[in-house]
């Protein structure tokens, strides 16, 4: 695990600011950019996976019950999943109001 950016000193940065750990963008929390978050109505979900396909951040994963659920660590709240959902099962809700 790479340490947080604001803890690196100038002497510790690899020459040329090369990132030596492949794929470490997965450690980057983009979830705190959002103001809206997706809420799934499981009654309406037909498990088509369009939300999973369209999500630009690959935030959607299949859970044990075969529902696609957005990982809020990555979800930026763009709402593409809600727009594309053919049954209207996903709604975008203001984050602090959602429970």
């Amino acid at each position: 695990m790479t340490k947080p950016e604001n803890e690196w000193t100038w002497k510790e940065i690899p020459i040329g600011n090369v990132v030596l750990e492949p794929g470490n963008a997965s450690q980057y929390r983009t979830g705190d950019w959002k103001s809206l978050k997706p809420i799934l109505d499981k009654e309406k979900c037909i498990h088509c996976g369009l939300c999973y396909i369209f999500c630009p951040d690959m935030a959607y994963n299949l859970d044990e019950e075969s529902y696609f659920i957005a990982d809020l660590f990555y979800c930026k709240g763009c709402g593409i999943c809600a727009k594309e959902c053919p049954t209207g099962a996903i709604s975008m809700v203001v984050e602090e109001e959602a429970k």
Binding site: E5, N6, W8, T9, W10, K11, I13, P14, I15, G16, N17, V18, V19, L20, P22
Partner: protein, 391 residues
């Protein structure tokens, strides 16, 4: 001793690139750089040089290709002038930020407008702060020599910075000069194959050119700034090793009859040889005049300049570029900064001369010394003017 031949400086520069075993050349033709890349493309096409020659559609692409090829560990070269440099300027900052040891020859030419193909230093001054090590050369032999010096220096693990070799367009690029060519075996010894610290390779994935948030950007830039200052001892070491091999020793600040001189001319680039003729004339007439030639422009040799100007009463700094709306010429500005803290600093009179390739003869240097001495005598100790402008 190597073979002594007469050759156009551009051709000799291209021959040096061949001898340096460059893997990738990427360039777009522009006057007065053209002969260098033309000759290189011939060498590659004729099978005399084992390198990839990329014909790109612009200078922005020329340097971008070098960034890519250098990132995979290939020794890369480009060459440009004037507007071409302006177009690649975006990538110059990227090459140094990524610490890629690319070497570029810049056949210095005026930036438009008015449009001009002739020589001055306005092109390189537009990217003065781009983080490359920057040399200025006085004659063709220095250009040839600095190709090898630059690659060895740039690729040193303790340096890893790109290098610009400035040569005055036409004044150097298009003239035939005597050269002492260095034997290939000596070059191979002096300049071993490039061993990159990091390179793009599918077996060991890394990321180059990643995004930096404000929380780490300043640390990244500090590291880059320390790197270029730390290259200073390496520059001296590389020049020393080159001198031991060839007998030609180079210094950040070169001096000519400067030791006891009351008035010192300060020049950069091909002005140096002409100014030294003027110094001889002035000395013959009993005047106490010497010459300082700045070879290393970045990192700027502040300490060496202070040492070289010690005891002088007057500096006559000749710039070949204007900082429009600024403090005169960029060289004078740096010289003033270097000496500001000295209690007995000399008066500094600044001329901008020879812009857009207007000839500056030994007689012109004499006139400038005369004018500066009179002005300073009359109390104008920080003067600045464009030399020879018709009123």
């Amino acid at each position: 001793m190597g073979k002594r031949v007469g050759m156009e400086v551009s051709i000799a520069a291209a021959e040096a690139v061949k001898q340096a075993a460059v893997d990738v050349i990427s360039a777009y033709p522009i006057t007065p750089q053209t002969h260098i890349v033309e000759h290189l493309s011939e060498l590659v096409a004729n099978g005399e040089m084992d390198a990839e020659f990329f014909c790109v559609e612009s200078e922005h692409s020329a340097l971008s290709v070098c960034v890519g090829s250098e990132a995979t560990g290939a020794r890369s070269f480009t060459c440009t002038s004037s507007q071409g440099l302006a177009l690649m300027s975006e990538i110059t900052y990227i090459a140094s930020g990524l610490r890629l040891p690319i070497v570029m020859i810049l056949a210095n030419r005026t930036l438009s407008a008015p449009l001009s193909i002739w020589n001055d230093h306005s092109d390189v001054m537009s990217i003065r702060d781009c983080g490359w090590i920057q040399f200025f050369t006085e004659n063709g032999q220095e250009v040839y020599d600095h190709v090898f010096i630059s690659y060895r220096l740039a690729e040193d693990r303790e340096v890893l910075l790109p290098v610009i070799i400035n040569m005055d367009g036409f004044t150097l690029s298009h003239v035939i000069e005597p050269f002492e060519m260095i034997e290939q075996e000596k070059i191979d010894q002096f300049l071993p194959p490039y061993q990159p610290l990091y390179r793009l390779h599918p077996d060991h994935p890394i990321t180059m050119g990643a995004f930096a948030l404000p929380s780490i950007f300043a640390e990244a830039k500090k590291a880059q700034e320390v790197a270029i200052w730390s290259s200073m001892p390496k520059i001296l070491e590389t020049w020393k090793a080159f001198g031991d091999m060839t007998g030609r020793y180079y210094k950040p600040i070169e001096t000519y009859k400067a030791e006891d001189a009351e008035t010192l001319l300060v020049t950069m680039g091909s002005f140096g040889e002409t100014a030294s003729v003027a110094v001889d004339k002035l000395r013959e007439g009993g005047r106490s005049v010497g010459l300082i030639k700045i070879r290393l422009w970045r990192p700027f040799p502040f300490d060496e300049l202070k040492k070289a100007t010690l005891g002088a009463k007057r500096l006559v700094v000749i710039d070949r570029a204007i900082s429009v709306g600024g403090p005169g010429g960029p060289v004078a500005s740096e010289v003033r900064s270097a000496l500001y803290g000295n209690e007995n600093r000399p008066a500094i009179y600044n001329f901008v001369a020879g812009i857009s390739g207007r000839d500056v003869t030994p007689q012109d240097f004499v006139k400038m010394v005369d004018k500066a001495e009179i002005e300073i005598e009359e109390g104008n100790k920080e003067g600045y003017e464009i030399y020879g402008v018709r009123e």
